[in-house]
């Protein structure tokens, strides 16, 4: 058995996540979220022309749109997807 040891010193500054960290989070999302929501973190702007992304984001109205069908996602379903992902990666 390892000695329990002490807690860590407090953190002074927290740097923003690097591109690699962001890539890892997005990969984790895509691998563990409910299937329909794959790509949600890689949405393009609703104003994008010729987007190939699965989802578009309407910043002014705070909503995601499924690009192929035009369906507006509810905030509630985005929250549900987040809960499913969190539970899966947390081991619940």
């Amino acid at each position: 058995m390892k000695p329990l040891g002490k807690s860590l010193p407090p953190v002074k500054e927290i740097a923003p996540p690097s591109q690699q960290e962001q890539d890892a989070v997005i990969a984790s999302w895509n691998a563990n979220c409910p299937l329909f929501y794959v790509g949600l973190m890689e949405a393009d702007s609703i104003d994008s022309k010729n987007s190939k992304a699965r989802f578009l984001y309407d910043k002014l109205n705070l909503r995601y749109v499924h690009r192929k069908t035009g369906r507006v996602l509810t905030q509630h379903e985005v929250n549900r997807a987040f809960i499913v992902w969190t539970n899966k990666v947390s081991g619940k």
Binding site: A43, N61, S90
Partner: protein, 175 residues
């Protein structure tokens, strides 16, 4: 390692408190990053200011975590059992609270000036949640998700609107 595996590793003495705390910090960081991504419409829309805000929120969680780590180190008998898993679960819940908080901040930035709390689809509502649900109030004035007695067990959420008096936005643009 996921949270369950991390708890087991600490209880079985395979990792130290410092290693456990470092892994928990990494876990929280990835959860909060995901919450920020989703609240903003994805990575393409996040600014340095947003990351700074996330950093402040994370710092608070790290401080709570540090206190928890000290408690475990000072009294391992009390903590290296099922209590550890239960308390670690609260950190998982903090990510949902962060998602709602980040979205609230974005709503305000986009000119939404009123909010309403909606009860989640569960029977786990505490009196705090029941007391504040279902009415429009100025944005930022209702208790944040996670500030109730139930923490986030209820899975309540906010919705937002631009009020009729908001001169910045013309009728027809309001949701």
């Amino acid at each position: 390692m996921n949270l369950a595996e991390l708890a087991t590793a600490l209880k079985e003495g395979r990792i130290s408190i410092g290693e456990w705390e470092s892994a928990m910090r990494d876990y929280l960081r990835s959860q909060f990053t995901a919450a920020m991504e989703l609240s903003k419409g994805g990575r393409n829309f996040i600014t340095q200011s947003d990351w700074g805000y996330m950093g402040s929120a994370l710092k608070k969680q790290y401080a709570f975590l540090g206190g928890f780590a000290k408690d475990i180190a000072n009294n391992p008998t009390a903590w290296l059992n099922g209590r550890l898993d239960a308390r670690m679960g609260l950190y998982k819940e903090s990510a949902y609270a962060a998602l709602e908080d980040f979205r609230r901040r974005e709503a305000e930035a986009q000119g939404y000036d009123e909010e309403m709390r909606l009860l989640g689809a569960t029977d786990k509502h505490c009196d705090d949640c029941l007391a504040v649900e279902g009415r429009w109030e100025p944005i930022g004035t209702l208790p944040a998700i996670g500030d109730s007695v139930c923490i986030t067990n209820c899975k309540c959420e906010f919705k937002y609107r631009r009020s009729a008096n908001n001169m910045l936005f013309a009728p027809g643009l309001n949701p």
